[in-house]
Symmetry: C2
């Protein structure tokens, strides 16, 4: 603990700040640097519990076994025995009385979950519920899950919920691997919707997930974009790293190091979509994965914002994206089972002081994927957005100490995330196995306190 924070903590008046920023030092999150393994849960102890009338327990058990988890029984847990992952089949929750089982099953074992453990709760899709009560009961599980995330987060445990449509019960393998694996170290308190409307891919690989795929990442010279390009490459994708010409030296270097193509292009230029289209068509014949990561901020309150601040943000963060998508989609250069991933932001979710321009574009992406994903579902294409919270980058390193500490700590995990954490979420959404997840916006924020 820093001396400054010790001092802060010792004063009763400032103890609140110290407490809220989560002293003492946060738990070290367990991350992995490698790609997905075919049996990722080897040596991991899993508990699978079901509330009344759940219909997902059997398939979940099969998937956990295939991933080589050791499946424990709650009533046979040895004293002090720890659980690495807890999967809760809440698919049968239809009336308030069904919540009782949730309490009864979880209360005795929730303190047994190991540091850096995972909790995944499966809920019915509220829109498919038989009546308003059942719809409410399904939605209530989100309040439960988010509260549990806040309770368990300080121990590095992430808690997420998936609303699973009735016909999507066979689309949970990759979901389970991601949300119960080390890849989801900084994704917590999220509610994901899994639907059956997207055409299934022919193959669902468990390793080298992206072998044979072509991935294009914008803003790939550094930070989150770079980490994402590296992560996709690691799963076997051919990667095109795109960034502005001013960054071309850095871009060439990082691309060479990871064995990727470099493409220096200002995406906001009028001829960028045509140039990109030509490049993709000639060099690769199409792309499977398109990650719209490039983005800029030009912060000012609206009354003081010069017009070019407004326009530049609109151009780079929204207009360029829409133009590129349209060009590639019209030319059929986004292949069947393609994956479109967009970098939104906490500002897009909650709005932010001084960011009317930025938040407008980032909120627009949330609505855009929600409509675009379902529209492309019959071609097997998924469109999802990712909203990072406080991620440790050169930008956040430059913040004043207290602002930075507060930003870092105001989440359930009491620490900032790494670019790799965002890359993992993008990688998951880019994988063939994520075909049930389409139109979602998922935060990677350690369950940040701030929201809408």
């Amino acid at each position: 603990m820093s001396d400054l924070l010790k001092q802060l903590n010792s004063n009763p008046m400032t103890g609140w700040l110290a407490k809220s920023i989560g002293l003492p030092n946060p738990v070290t999150l367990a991350r992995e640097n490698g790609p997905y393994q075919p049996q990722p849960f080897s040596g991991k102890r899993a508990l699978l519990v079901s509330t009344t009338n759940g219909y997902l327990e059997a398939p979940l058990r099969e998937l956990l076994e295939a991933a080589d988890a050791e499946i424990l029984r709650a009533d046979e847990l040895a004293e002090q025995e720890r659980i690495d992952m807890l999967v809760v089949d809440g698919s049968g929750c239809q009336s308030p009385g069904d919540y009782t089982a949730l309490y009864e099953r979880l209360h005795p074992i929730v303190r047994r979950i190991a540091t850096n453990g995972r909790v995944l709760l499966l809920a019915p899709h509220p829109e498919e519920a038989a009546n308003a009560v059942a719809s409410g009961v399904a939605r209530g599980l989100e309040g439960f899950s988010r509260s549990l995330g806040k309770e368990l987060g300080p121990r590095g445990i992430t808690v997420n919920l998936a609303y699973v449509a009735r016909n999507a019960g066979d689309r949970l393998d990759m979901l389970l691997r991601f949300f119960c694996g080390p890849q989801t170290a900084y994704v917590s308190g999220q509610a994901i919707t899994v639907t059956a409307h997207t055409k299934s891919p022919a193959e669902l690989p468990c390793e080298q997930l992206l072998a044979g795929k072509v991935a294009l990442v914008t803003g790939a010279a550094r930070g989150i974009g770079l980490s994402t390009a590296q992560r996709l490459r690691q799963e076997g994708a051919q990667v095109i790293c795109l960034d502005i010409p001013a960054a071309s030296e850095e871009l060439e270097r990082v691309a060479r190091e990871m064995g990727a193509e470099a493409l220096a292009l200002d995406i906001s230029a009028a001829d960028a979509p045509a140039k990109l289209l030509e490049f993709v068509r000639e060099q690769f014949g199409g792309v499977d994965i398109l990650v719209h990561n490039a983005g800029i901020t030009r912060d000012k309150t609206l009354g003081k914002m010069p017009e070019h601040f407004w326009q530049q943000v609109m151009q780079v963060n929204l207009e360029a994206i829409v133009a590129i998508d349209q060009a590639l989609l019209d030319a059929q250069l986004i292949r069947e089972h393609g994956r479109l991933v967009y970098l939104s932001s906490m500002s897009g979710v909650a709005g932010n002081f001084g960011q009317t321009n930025y938040a407008t574009t980032k909120a627009a992406l949330i609505g855009y994927v929600a409509a675009l994903g379902p529209a492309l579902a019959e071609r097997g294409i998924c469109a999802n957005a990712v909203a990072p919270g406080f991620i440790e980058t050169a930008m956040t390193d430059a913040m004043p100490f207290v602002t930075r500490e507060a930003g870092r700590r105001l989440n359930s995990l009491k620490q900032g995330g790494q670019p790799r954490d965002v890359a993992e979420l993008v990688c998951f959404l880019s994988s063939p196995g994520a075909y049930g997840v389409n139109g979602n916006t998922i935060r990677v924020c350690g369950q940040g306190l701030i929201g809408a």
Copy 2:
């Protein structure tokens, strides 16, 4: 400013806390104690601006004139002239280029908005958009609105957005009166959906909104419930104040003082729905407005929570509500054009540490109204939820100083709300004119920082 906070502020290390809790003292919010007036905007200066192709400007102008607002022209504003309300018709926003007008119209005048002013932004309904881009552009306005709320909030200005379905343009009168009036002093940063699916009432009164209506409020002996009962009474409703038998003395007193009926009943008792049904049928023949305000907390982390904590919260906050609704709806005792309003909570939106039980019930209400409202729309019945943030009550008075200050200040208005602020929102949702708002959950939290 308190000496303690001064001390906090003077230390550079703790300046962040002081800044985040919004010193110096927040602006005094302009509230009214009276009922709605037929011409509520007399003496108020309004600016009505429209982005490209907006189709709501003409009806909005009529409504503002009918409410007696003085409608100014942006290009004729005298130097130093202040605007009391800004209404932005964004209904034509379909492409990223349409955002330009938003900047051009608002940038020059946003600093002219008076302290305690109001901003209401009308947006197209994203689900009705012609394509994914238009859907995204509509959704982007929410990021804009929430950001603007954070910029203007410290001056007591509230900023809200309404997604207006194409056929619901004639349902904006009451919406405008509420969101541009003093009634919305503590509602900010919200996105409301206005649809055309609910059957219209025969009359849309502009004063004594609830004359001839029967309203039942649970938990009405004190706090938010009491304030709500008083507010509904003030608009001319016959009011039934319900609370537990243990509070019957207080209940009798407050009911007598406001000219209401008192009904002492434990809603979680097995025979409560039957007793309530009988009372309503015999005394009033039915109810028009039902406000499910009663609720309890029994906080503990899940691992330490005794079973009766879980069950009591489920019973009072969810099971009782569902049972009462079912009894009254089955017996046709909720009259046509009825209004059902449910008290949810920030915990239901975001989850909360130590509140797995409470947050489950409060999140369930969010899903419940979203399904129940549309299901009852053909009978003209609306179901909506209200999620209060930090509201000044006896409970919050008992908090430790710093916790209380932080809770109070972590919102755009930098202060806590009053029970009356919640009552105003419930009153709006209970009014005949709110027939476009059905299935929504609206926060009354001064645009609280905390969310999901």
